[in-house]
Subunit: 150 residues, 6 copies
């Protein structure tokens, strides 16, 4: 059984994330969306809300599930028996950052492979950072996130 | 009448900003320098000082004015009837970031176009972040900002 | 009167080019699409065809015209009294290349300013090089170029 | 059955290619190494040699096979029923180029997904271009290619 | 006597730093590892620990010494009579950032030259930021730092 | 004695090259400008002219000399006992390319170190490719090259 982890903060999840997960379902038997919860980090939305939103979005996708995790991503991979990490790439700056993370993860556990999917062009500008910024400035984020979020 | 917004924090304004605005005056009938004021952000210089500096620098440029704004940049564009946003580009990392912002803004209001001017090479290393760093370390910033700032 | 040059080989013109020109019409009184004709370069399509296609596409845009030119782009700018060069940017690699050209042009004539428009995300993968490649492999380019081209 | 195409010129195949294919075997039931043969292109090694080398390298990998193809990559994907294209990424410049190709391919056939694997750091400098250059200058390429090549 | 400064926070020093310093010893008569200490910044490790670690690592390198400094890097260069600043480059994003700093430093003191060494590929993913992240998540950093650190 | 090689085609040498060599003289006892001569490549200027120009430019720099070479750069380094290769970096695309070459060279001879100097901003747009292009279009290159070239 091929299991992949799609890790992130998902503060909040947006259309770019959703697209990557759906496209990845054709590749994997099981996809776990792992919400990394870092006690030293400030989130805009509480973990429960972030988790419930994701569960709702993917409730019709039996191979997709959500879990919260703490600690290292590679440790969580081993715990859930995921041999693959999936990440979307928006641009070249993204790639340089993600490659370092992938390389460090592979140093820590050579059995874990990171795969990249290029974001769809019309979704490649969306980031949770920009979305939180729009929320703080009182704008509408409905174009960038699934229904019911925010 | 062609109106452009040149948005930023201008904490403080520097020679790179000034060059972009002056070059943009040949393109637009009216340029509004919009000082985004974000209550959750810490600034080194108070908004009044940042605004007064800019007013002084451009007092001989009748088409250039300064305004403070809160909220989304696209909302402010509509308020001041600016159809264009002007941004300087220093390097490839800049471009990847600015393109996302431009694309998000166009999603929110398709009538607003973002234009990029390449920074002059001899000014392309200057950033407000580095200038604030020099100030904190007790260095002189006179090479990088117009007279009277800092 | 604000005149801009949009220079290129246009071998052939594609939807990405067309979008940049149309968006630029809101900024300039006159846009000249300049087909650089370099005797040492091999083109897939003859200059007459490339020119006729562009004329057809923009026949309902009175401010847009087409001209062939040889020699330096800055010399042609002076000849047609264009103070601006307009270029689309697809990605960070593009930017690094285009910035060098813009900087060299400004060294040769400081009165000529280069403006960049970010390509629309859904058009940012299209290039004449890839289109010629599709043609050589017998594929259809109709998704990427205006009607009647190829 | 999940089938992936790993397309390229393989002029010649090198250790970076081999690593990507082997890592991809854990993801796919079948991997077809597709040698694109472009009549207008000059190759250093004849197609028969390039093909035989690859067959030898992967003879102990039952899920890996080699085929020559002409025409568009998406057409060849349909012919061999591959829903995935796999590519290695060496650096940010690579990504910007590969993303355009992936996006064009998806425009031509939305059922075809491109996946990227980051090259192992110690292999990320190797390219067929540099290898051909070393050969032309009389150097040894044995560090960069499997035994028996060159 | 050729003296170079290798500036940084070293919070903590890692194998990538160590490799750059050792490679630089073949170029310079004296290398000063300068620990920039910024009162407004939060460090994971106290300055004394950071300094002692570095002293231990390089105790068998007579040309390498460690000093703490505050204030501008160019001022510290003048104080210790270093005409060169040495920096490692991991990737293109790094370069764009480091070039700006180098350019600003040269504006402030034209006698100070910045040299870049490319990080070894197998070390190019390591950063102090990622290492601190691993520590916070309870992981082992022993692969990425010299013995005795963390 | 510290010897560095500054390799290139120098077709023709330009102000960007000259600046790097002069700045490198403060670091090395001997700098050899190596003109790589590749029989399969077409040059605009014959090797004798390229060599004579460089000799003239650096005739007052006793530590700088010029040699033509064929074959691999690392082989030439060994022949002239150069332990260092010096290269200028103009932008991030440059860096990604140069890093691969440096890494391949170090694989072939681990004793050879490549150093990068960032080009001065006002010289960072100049390339021999653009200069040859200006020449072909009948433009003047006097701004970009030392006196007497072209």
């Amino acid at each position: 059984m091929k299991t992949a982890l799609f890790p992130g903060s998902f503060d909040p999840i947006h259309n770019g994330h959703v697209d990557i997960v759906i496209r990845a379902t054709s590749l994997f038997d099981r996809i776990i969306i792992g919400i990394g919860n870092n006690s030293s980090k400030q989130y805009l939305f509480p973990i429960d809300k972030r988790k419930r939103w994701i569960e709702n979005i993917f409730k019709s996708f039996p191979s997709v599930s959500v879990q919260e995790y703490q600690g290292l991503t590679v440790d969580f991979c081993r715990k859930v028996q995921a041999s693959f990490i999936v990440r979307g790439l928006r641009n070249g700056t993204d790639f340089q950052f993600e490659r370092s993370i992938a390389q460090m993860n592979q140093s820590m556990d050579s059995a874990i492979e990171t795969l990249f999917l290029p974001c769809k062009p019309e979704l490649s500008a969306i980031s949770s950072t920009i979305i939180r910024d729009i929320i703080r400035h009182g704008g509408s984020i409905s174009l960038f996130v699934p229904d019911g979020i925010g």
